[in-house]
Symmetry: D2
């Protein structure tokens, strides 16, 4: 994250540290640069971490998150711990946590082509895929199939397909459950559904979900917070668990539930009894 | 609703009926045309009805909704019942239902003026005011005061302030309660709040709500489904119950809870017991 | 609350204060003792306050709550403020807040009588009426009428009919909305409903609710937390807003929303943003 | 289920069918009788099926559910299909579905012993473990540890730990998510929690949950709907995924989501759009 001042200082610190220790340092901006790397450092918040993990996925490079934002679910250490963390890593004193990612395939019709022409575009998500209304005041009508069987048509502001890692992000806001990050599952949570059935579904990782837009407004496709496409009625998006896991470096015991409690102020004191 | 074929036929029927009965007919497109009218007919769905009620509010003209959409909460009769309904109305055989409306005041800074210049713009809503994110992937941070006292800062996709009439519309999708339309109250329902406190608040009709945007993305203001403004951090929107009620003609006993049950398929059969 | 040590000391303080000021003091244990009183003090928590208000309702005596429990919604002052509070009260420096109560009528069949004999028993509630399962593992099937019209049959652990005052008590736990205490309304919130329709209804204060048990297990009736009856299939309970309001002394500006925020640790800090 | 008339007739039919086909038939009432059996038939509803699965677990005998109740999640065929089903089973034309079960261990202090004496009692559940208040009007205070780490203290009517199979039973009523039955996970759903954090947690199958009662009322322990113990403050209950799966015979393609839709009337028609 080159715009945060602390992040720049940290990157200088890392360069100096590595030079002294005899390791080579590289600024990674493309996935192809990751081949053969031992470690990628993410200097920023959870957003920076999402992009770093995306870059590292194909060559399966582990990522260590250094937090320059608020308390993060994905980042592991604070800036002052960097030196110690690098020592631990190169001494092999760390754990590798595997996080499930989503394999998203948009089947789209290129502009100016006939309806029968479709091309596929693929994305990877660590948090979630969102298919939602493009404009205020609209609802989208979405035809949803699970494991190749039509499940339901949703009329809603949108639909979230999240990984366990993403269950504490947007899916949480839409009233989805909190899912342990080591589980291999997908959480389908409707956003402001205009219907009685408003419950989240937790799917097995091999149950692919396919979404089409029914008549009415088109829908915007967001992948880990980035706008990727506007879905038209003759197009579709299919999501399944990816074969490639994100590899996240764990140095201590900072459990995701500890972060959850800290994020939401879930101390006993703050949950005060209602009745006397 | 001039684009629905049935609605055009119905308007011709009304003209013929009124001519024969000696009443004058007018196509109303501005509130000023409503002065002195006995009745306004809304030929369309609930959306058409919302606009008709908006036009009729200042001169307190009652509105009769003729339904050309799906089952509607606001419309009272189906097209074939029009003749009988007009007879009943002019014979005085009807009830007048008063529905609370919202008085919405946007305090905005005109383009090109300094920050200290503000001008007010006012709107009326029968269903709801929505203050929400303008773009996918954003959340808005909203500072909310109730009865001139700061209540909370919300981090959410948006916030809905609904009338009891609007409690079965967007506020319902956002998990708000269903409120009897004769109650004078305002329902404040957060949309996908990124925080633990996600409960709806039901306010007394004299508790005005004022909303400001905090640092971060601007927010879109929707009034009964129509985009009215993009709210910047130095602007605000204030909503209170209006002194003017919407006047809706009731001819039969079609209770709003009967419509609710019908809309959502709330028959006993469809709610099947889970356990044996 | 004669078992709390602080409460006993406080009652001695009050006796001494009143003797000096020339007022008579009385320990009230029956409603009939309230006739002609200027003020009743409740020395305890919200539970004590509920009982004090019950006693004071018929003769419309105002109640001042002195808090000896956790932070309470109903109590107004802390023990050290007692002297000052009594001065203010007798100097007329206070506000009288009127809180809606529920008029509950159980139509029951006395033991050993034939099915056609019914006798009515009436109760008043400041917080809520609960009709719920009597034993773990059961669900109750409840036939619910609103304003003399059958609404729905519920299959649930139970059903809560709360006042606005009670909306922050048990109804809150069952996911009901938070309702301003000055509103005249009833909140009907299902407890763990075994059906899709799980939304709370906010009713106008003149819409009486009548509940019957359908075939299956009997249901326990709780009035403000006290077990009052076990409802059999040929019996019913009817609840409406009472004509008698509870009169609560307000000395300062301690708003119920301030208490709500304090109870639930609703500070901005504790609601931490989820995304970076 | 010997009290349902159809079930008796069916059992006579099965005896005749097996005699003719040369198979031996046995009425199973104890787990020890299951050793060496090829198949156990459950003639009843989902409740009968729960008991049959419990009996069959240790010797891993598959169960075929014949439905004599309402539409069931667990039963596979209707009575008239019995003959065809037996033929298919013995011809090997079936699938064996493995359902995760819970291994529940209650650490209890026997009556009349000192506090240091504890004995363990173990149960298996296919649907859920419930730890809940024993009496109306109480809440229980529960200390919850996950994976040997204290998570939170809950103040609630109770807490449900469900399997994916149980996610459509009581956990659903308490607003838990719907979880695919092939997933290995545990769902922890609070019942009417008196606190802001009311979200369900979906845990990995290796994350054991341990629950203790804090000061205040004791809690009732229900295992698949059967009352098993009243938990006192110096006792605890621990639940983890069992190594033994329930084996359920599948003959057709009746997907659990099809049953879900049927149970709740989840047809498109019944979910009517709210807005026009």
């Amino acid at each position: 994250h080159p715009e945060r001042k602390g992040a720049i200082e940290a990157s200088e610190f890392v360069e100096a540290w590595c030079e002294k220790a005899g390791y080579e340092v590289l600024r990674v901006t493309k996935a192809s640069q990751c081949q053969g790397l031992s470690l990628v450092l993410s200097l920023g918040g959870d957003g920076t971490m999402l992009r770093a993990i995306d870059l590292c996925l194909v060559y399966q490079v582990p990522v260590l998150g250094v937090n320059f934002g608020h308390l993060g679910y994905l980042t592991e250490i604070e800036p002052p711990e960097l030196g110690k963390a690098l020592e631990n890593f190169f001494a092999g004193e760390y754990e590798l946590e595997e996080r499930m990612t989503l394999d998203i395939e948009i089947s789209r019709q290129p502009r100016g082509t006939s309806e029968s022409v479709h091309e596929a575009e693929r994305f990877v998500a660590l948090n979630e895929l969102v298919v939602e209304k493009s404009h205020s005041g609209n609802v989208v009508k979405l035809n949803v199939s699970i494991a190749d069987t039509h499940f339901l048509d949703y009329e809603a502001d949108g639909l979230i397909i999240a990984t366990p890692t993403g269950s504490t992000a947007y899916s949480f806001s839409a009233r989805g459950p909190v899912v342990s990050p080591t589980l291999r599952a997908m959480i389908m949570t409707p956003i402001s559904p205009h219907m009685l059935f408003d419950r989240a579904l937790v799917l097995d990782s091999n149950e692919a979900v396919e979404i089409r837009v029914l008549q009415g407004p088109h829908a915007t496709i967001m992948v880990d917070g980035i706008n990727r496409h506007v879905l038209a009625p003759n197009e579709s998006v299919k999501v399944r668990s990816s074969l490639l896991n994100a590899l996240v470096i764990k140095l201590g015991k900072r459990d995701f539930r500890v972060i959850l409690k800290s994020k939401f102020g879930l101390t006993e004191k703050s949950m005060g009894s209602i009745l006397d």
